[in-house]
Amino acid sequence: MTTRLPPLVLHLLAALACLVLLVLLTLVTDPFTNLRIATVGYYLIAVAGLALLTGFNGQVSLGHGAFMFIGAYTVALLVKRVPAFPIWVDLLLAVVAGGLAGLLAGAAAARLHGPYLAGATLALAVGLPAVAQRFPDLFAGSNGLSFTVNSQPAGLVGVVPATRWQAWIVWLAVLLALVVLVNLARGRLGRTLRAVRDDEVAASLAGVHVGRTKILAFLISSACGGLAGGLQAFLLGTAAPGSFTPALSLSLLAALVLGGLGSLWGALWGAIALVYFQVWTDDFAELLSLRSDIADNLPLALYGVVLIVIVLAFPAGIQGGVRKLWVRVRRPAPSQRGEK
């Protein structure tokens, strides 16, 4: 019997295995599917960050799109103004910028509960993109910034399609961030977060600094948002206020609820749903050849229906359903065990 590996190494190895799988997946799919796979990646880290905040710590944020906005503009400005920085420095700084903004927002939010917190964070999503309009010389107003990120090593240009390379970078960053998140969530911090979520008084009696924990959750969560935004900017070469509407923040939260609040796996299902439900319903709407004003709005309506159905059928989201199924497979139901 070998000694158990420490969790960090275990998670790193798992991440490495995931990366290998993803590289293989991108190799057998076409360049556009690679782009979608990368899109799932950056949504995953945004939703996972939100899972830590909302699912683990019980702080509802309706404004997480604002941190993506900060991350995206950080990368955009760095690429345009300091082109010598390699992309990983840009992304790291996007994480830092998102985290700092989250620290400020969290410090204010730690005093708020439930609907008041939701309202405050929604204000962030509504108000922050207007900053781009306030300083048009720096942020280019409503038009936003567009740029090309030249990250591919010279030797790979023309050999590997650009979107495939981008998918690799996105997932590498996402998996590294996930390793950090999983370690935090599984460890002492995770327990503290849940303690504060379940009963603040009990937690503080047990010696947990409630306010500090809440701010820390906000910081980590918005750093993830910053990374997600930075990756989006890296992937699509744009940062514009029109992309970070309150609707984005709401859809992140909806994706989290859909995937399952309580675990980081839920973030994966949520991110996949965010990208692929839209695609499938689009195709479905096209198939029906309806009047244009109905067909245009059908995808969103269907998404809403699916969200309602899933939440009704599996209150714990897709991950809840998967876990139920898994339990049933592992341990047959009483009737099948021959118990009468």
Partner: protein
């Protein structure tokens, strides 16, 4: 433990090295345009084109109908045998006026659907994010639905061509008209806070700089324009030049009514479609809990346009498009916005015809400035080897009480710099003189 730590360290180092390859600087990777391969999206019997449109979201009221009009014209072309024997397959992707979504759907059109050309991509904040990509990939990017100056950049975007009269040209024509007809009156400006505003101002300032008493901007995300209009009222503006999209022209009309501000409204072509405005004014008023007559509120508004109006019944092109409308989309209201899409589709058809039977992307691009593109528009295009700007001018009209439009000043053309504003040459052919299909 030591060895395990080093495993971690090695894994991390590998990851960082992999990510660190190359700076993120702005220099684009080597383009792969024009590899001499057969053109994507083209077969002997069909040609696939794509576009991105706001079918949902903030710009959908009004602009959502453009692709409906275009589709009707493509159906008409296809039912009459196509162009050079090829049917046109028109793929419309919804981007919700969200730049991130635009980049995604355009990459889908190029990489997955493999379109031959992009036609009429809509919006300045949206389309500006894909111009470089389309040009790097060598995809012809024709008739962009926006009047920003940036589509006319032959050196940086050789495959991109404008469509609308650009905002500076239009601003010059408006400025000159105001200077000639409202000399000495105080002018207030209400403009969208992006290129629409800055580009227009460049034109207006050449004529009415000393008449302007106040300049206000609005942001499309904020639908309350009361502060802006109150400021214009306080400044004593007698003429209000509104460079607004349809929804904000409608809001301006209603807000002026609310605060009792009676100034002569001068609206630019992007927001001056009377049919769309009537609908929006009545709809917004209803949402606010009151009943208004759109026709009464619109009476007297001055606007500019460069396409035939659905309300000028004697124009042969209006008649032609009305026939297509009645046959293919009789349930849709016949508006100037619909005609915008129809003219765009028709113009693309002409370019495709001129590109010839042996179709390549380069031939299509060359056809754009071949001088073959004449027709529905009231002024010529600026297309040449050195210019990719669209329509070169506009006429000035006024909305009458009976809902018709009265021409105040015939079409004039100008350039985007300091050149003169002069009468447009009228060499506009009739529909039957243009042989498009077959």
């Amino acid at each position: 433990m030591r060895s395990r730590r080093s495993v971690t360290a090695i894994a991390l180092t590998c990851a960082l090295v992999l990510a660190a390859c190359g700076g993120a600087g702005e220099t684009p990777a080597a383009g792969n345009a024009d590899k001499g391969e057969p053109a994507p999206g083209v077969t002997d019997t069909s040609v696939l084109i794509g576009t991105h449109q706001p079918l949902t979201g903030p710009a959908a009221p009004g602009y959502g109908k453009i692709s409906v009009g275009a589709k009707a014209v493509y159906s008409y072309i296809n039912d009459n045998g196509g162009i050079n024997g090829r049917k046109i397959d028109y793929k419309v992707e919804d981007d919700g006026y969200n730049p991130t979504k635009t980049v995604e759907v355009v990459k889908k059109l190029v990489l997955q659907d493999k379109i031959f050309a992009m036609v009429g991509g809509l919006g300045t904040p949206t389309h500006s994010k894909v111009v470089e990509y389309l040009n790097t990939e060598g995809v012809p990017d024709l008739l962009v639905s926006s009047g920003a100056l940036m589509w006319d950049d032959v050196a940086k975007a050789p495959k991109t061509f404008g469509y609308q009269v650009d905002y500076t040209r239009e601003g010059k024509i408006q400025g000159q008209y105001i200077k000639d007809n409202f000399a000495g009156k105080k002018v207030g400006l209400l403009v969208q806070g992006d290129d629409v505003g800055t580009d227009t101002q460049k034109g207006l300032d050449q004529f009415v700089k000393d008449q302007i008493v106040s300049r206000q901007t609005y942001d499309p995300a904020n639908t309350d324009v009361t502060p802006q209009l109150s400021a214009l009222q306080a400044a004593g503006a007698e003429i209000v030049v509104c460079e607004c999209i349809p929804a904000f022209t409608a809001l301006t009309i209603l807000t002026s009514l609310k605060i009792g501000f009676k100034a002569q409204l001068v609206v630019s072509s992007i927001g001056a479609d009377p049919a769309t405005l009537t609908g929006l004014v009545e709809q917004f008023a209803k949402q606010g809990g009151s009943q208004v007559s759109g026709a009464a509120l619109l009476t007297g508004i001055i606007g500019t346009r460069y396409l035939p109006s659905v309300r000028s019944g004697e124009d042969p092109w209006t008649t032609f498009f009305k026939q297509i409308h009645d046959k293919y989309i009789p349930d849709e209201a016949f508006t100037d916005t619909l005609v915008f899409g129809m003219v765009q589709a028709y113009t693309f058809g002409q370019a495709l015809k001129a590109a010839g039977k042996d179709l390549t992307r380069q031939k299509l691009v060359d056809a754009m400035y071949s001088g073959e593109l004449k027709g529905p528009g009231l002024t010529p295009f600026a297309f040449s080897k050195d210019s990719h700007a669209g329509y070169t001018g506009a006429l000035v009209f006024q909305i009458a009480a009976d809902g018709s439009v009265k021409t105040l000043q015939e079409a004039k053309t100008t350039d985007r710099d300091n050149g003169p504003v002069q009468d447009a040459k009228s060499d506009r052919p009739k529909p039957e003189e243009v042989k498009l299909v077959g």
